[in-house]
């Protein structure tokens, strides 16, 4: 490969014309260093005609040709016929002719107004979007419930295979992680309690601390959080990529209801499995607490369980468990809804998956807060 000198140019005056003598290799990679100088030249050349001499140009590509044409066109309208390029070889003039019709600039990004307007615009857009999104999700809830009513009236239309598959994927496969997390949280609560309760010589109250928090809140909440991250996002991604590949449309044209085929089995599977996971979480949380109480505070498991039976009423257990199907419904609906909202690009799958997790976690916590207030009112 012979090497040509990098692109360069000289400027001179010749008979009232500005003369630009180009030389060397005018291919895109060599244009970087001279571009600024060329633009200065274009700005300074006001009112004068330009001659570009190309006889010393060794190599040229479309980028180089474009730049030369740009320079040539920088002269004012009235004199444009007199400005010209001389000394170009056959191939180079062909290239120059080829790029001639393609010099219009093009926009790189969609136009943005100024920053303040943009922030206001975003704010307004966000508020409107939030309003319509909540309407949409409410209508999706209604759609799912009415479909569920229709399907449950004819139980043969219930897709058992699909429900069981999702129960395995979202429920059974989540057992190890839910169990481990609950165990650790139970142990941590007990440790924290141990330290403070000891100050008051009230070690034994660690039983109430662990049992109440784990049974009422932590067991079910942890299960819900993990399922939202694990299965809610998976639902969005699965349904979303089906949407992109037009599989949802294919279902519709084949006379199948996507809500019945895709959404219902997932939501039902979650509603069935979440109480199981919450129960398991509570159990392992207690186990973690018992272990810590035993090893760090010398409260034997028998003593722990005995006191638990005396002081903790059964309703605490039900409080935790009752919430599970509601959490499951929220997670399942949000996951499937966001999947259905995917549109256009692969990027949208990612955005919707993120949104799905954020929204279902938000809903889970809000629902939990409502339940807390509710149970407080009815003294349960």
């Amino acid at each position: 490969m012979q090497t040509a000198a990098a692109a360069g140019f000289e400027i001179g005056l010749e008979g009232g014309f500005l003369k630009l003598t180009a030389r060397g290799d005018w291919r895109a990679r060599f244009l970087g260093p001279i571009d600024e100088a060329l633009r200065d030249f274009e700005d300074d050349s006001t009112g004068r005609d330009i001659i570009i001499d190309m006889k010393d140009v060794e190599k040229l590509d479309t980028a180089g040709a474009m730049v030369l044409q740009r320079v040539l066109r920088s002269c004012p309208e009235r004199s444009s016929e007199r400005s010209r390029i001389v000394g170009a070889s056959q191939a180079h003039s062909e290239l120059l002719r080829q790029v001639e019709g393609h010099l219009a600039p093009c926009s790189v990004t969609p136009l943005h107004p100024n920053a303040v307007l943009m922030i206001l615009d975003r704010l307004g857009q966000g508020a409107v979007d939030a309003y319509f999104a909540s309407l949409q999700i409410l209508s999706f809830v209604g759609l799912t419930l009415s479909t569920a009513g229709r399907v449950l009236a004819q139980p043969r239309r219930l897709r058992l295979t699909s429900i069981f598959a999702h129960m395995e994927e979202a429920g059974l496969n989540a057992v190890p992680i839910v169990g481990l997390m609950s165990f650790l949280i139970g142990a941590v609560v007990a440790f924290m309690g141990a330290k403070i309760l000891r100050l008051f010589n009230a070690d034994i109250f660690v039983v109430e601390l662990v049992a109440l928090s784990v049974l009422r809140e932590f067991g079910v909440l942890l299960a819900a959080i993990l399922i939202a991250g694990r299965s809610g996002s998976a639902f969005t991604a699965q349904i979303g990529s089906m949407k992109i590949r037009e599989e949802i449309d294919a279902l519709r044209v084949l006379g199948l209801d996507p809500i019945e085929v895709l959404v219902l089995p997932r939501v039902i599977a979650l509603i069935l499995m979440m109480p199981v996971l919450a129960f398991l979480g509570a159990l392992l949380g207690l186990f973690g607490g018992i272990l810590v109480a035993w090893s760090a505070m010398d409260i034997s498991p028998a003593l722990f369980l005995g006191r638990m039976q005396e002081t903790i009423v059964m309703s605490n257990f039900w409080v935790g468990l009752i919430k599970a199907p509601f959490f499951a419904f929220a997670i399942g609906i949000v996951g499937c809804f966001q999947g259905m909202e995917v549109g256009g690009s692969a990027e949208s799958v990612g955005q919707r998956t993120t949104l799905s997790v954020v929204q279902s976690l938000f809903l889970v916590i809000v629902i939990d807060a409502f339940f807390a207030m509710f149970f407080l009112e009815i003294d349960f």
């Binding site: 490969m1 291919r27 895109a28 990679r29 244009l31 970087g32 571009d35 600024e36 633009r39 590509d61 479309t62 980028a63 474009m66 730049v67 740009r70 191939a91 062909e94 290239l95 080829q98 790029v99 019709g101 393609h102 010099l103 219009a104 600039p105 093009c106 926009s107 790189v108 990004t109 969609p110 136009l111 549109g343 256009g344 690009s345 692969a346 990027e347 949208s348």
Partner: protein, 272 residues
């Protein structure tokens, strides 16, 4: 690399074997692509056209044989030398393969920014040039790939493939999914680019019209190898049953009639 100009082979494939696990896609495949020609690669579905393309551009390592491109064996080069070779070719994937998080103009600017280190204004000018040359209107530059039709995605993909002024262009089914008018325009565009930029084009295609109007030579892939290679007339003379079915079938005859035998392909094709 001091071979005489016209006969220089840009790509030389010798004894190529590619396989997926036990499944052999190609065996003993030989193929030459000459400088300045448009080579069309045809073959039935699953004949391995795209696999051949992927093997040549370094995405699918062959299990035997050699591929020389610009006289170098791509798979034996260092990473740095591979990058240098890659800058000398452009690839248009079947669906355009535009980066969905970037606008069309940003897509075209991506290789320019990455490899040429040009000032932003110049990179933008070059991108605008390529977008316009690919037959897109200037406002398409600010659009995201999800807002484009199939034909526009292909053109945008072509603009990106042309971003670095490559010497060699790979096209994977460039006219598939385009309407006949769009497909004909695309054929013209390719022929023009080849003529004026001196491109060499390696094109995988199913489109008989494209073969007749745009391609100088045709390579037929069947039985795990190239069974015939030459101008359409030469390829047809080989008399292989698949080739007869392909060019002699109703669609093949229609394409032939509408072009007149040889047509533009004959005018540009060189003696074999």
């Amino acid at each position: 690399m001091a071979e005489s100009g016209a006969a220089r082979n840009i790509i030389e494939v010798r004894g190529l074997k590619t396989q997926f696990g036990e499944f052999v896609v190609q065996e003993n495949l030989d193929l030459d692509v000459r400088e300045g020609e448009i080579l069309g690669v045809v073959g039935g579905s699953g004949a391995g056209k795209s696999v051949l393309l992927r093997a040549i551009i370094g995405l699918k390592r062959p299990s035997a044989g050699s591929i020389r491109i610009f006289g170098e064996n791509f798979y034996e080069l260092s990473k740095k030398e591979q990058r240098e070779i890659e800058q000398r070719w452009g690839v248009l994937f079947q669906g355009g393969a535009l980066f969905s998080s970037l606008t069309v103009a940003q897509n075209v600017m991506a290789p320019i920014r990455e490899h040429l280190h040009l000032p932003d204004g110049l990179a933008r000018d070059i991108a605008a040039l390529k977008i316009s040359m690919s037959g897109l209107p200037p406002e398409a530059g600010a659009k995201y790939p999800s807002e484009l039709s199939g034909g526009m995605s292909k053109r945008a993909g072509l603009a990106r493939a042309l971003a670095l002024d490559p010497e060699l262009l790979f096209l994977d089914e460039p006219t598939a999914g385009l309407d006949p008018i769009g497909a004909a325009k695309f054929d013209d565009l390719i022929v023009n680019l080849k003529k004026f930029l001196g491109l060499t084009v390696f094109m995988v295609t199913h489109d008989l019209d494209t073969l007749h109007t745009a391609c100088d030579r045709v390579a037929v892939l069947a039985e795990k190898r190239v069974i015939a290679c030459g101008t359409i007339a030469e390829v047809r003379r080989s008399g292989h049953p698949w080739i007869e079915d392909y060019f002699g079938g109703p669609r093949g005859r229609a394409a032939l009639q509408s072009r007149g035998v040889g047509g533009r392909a004959g005018a540009q094709g060189e003696a074999f």
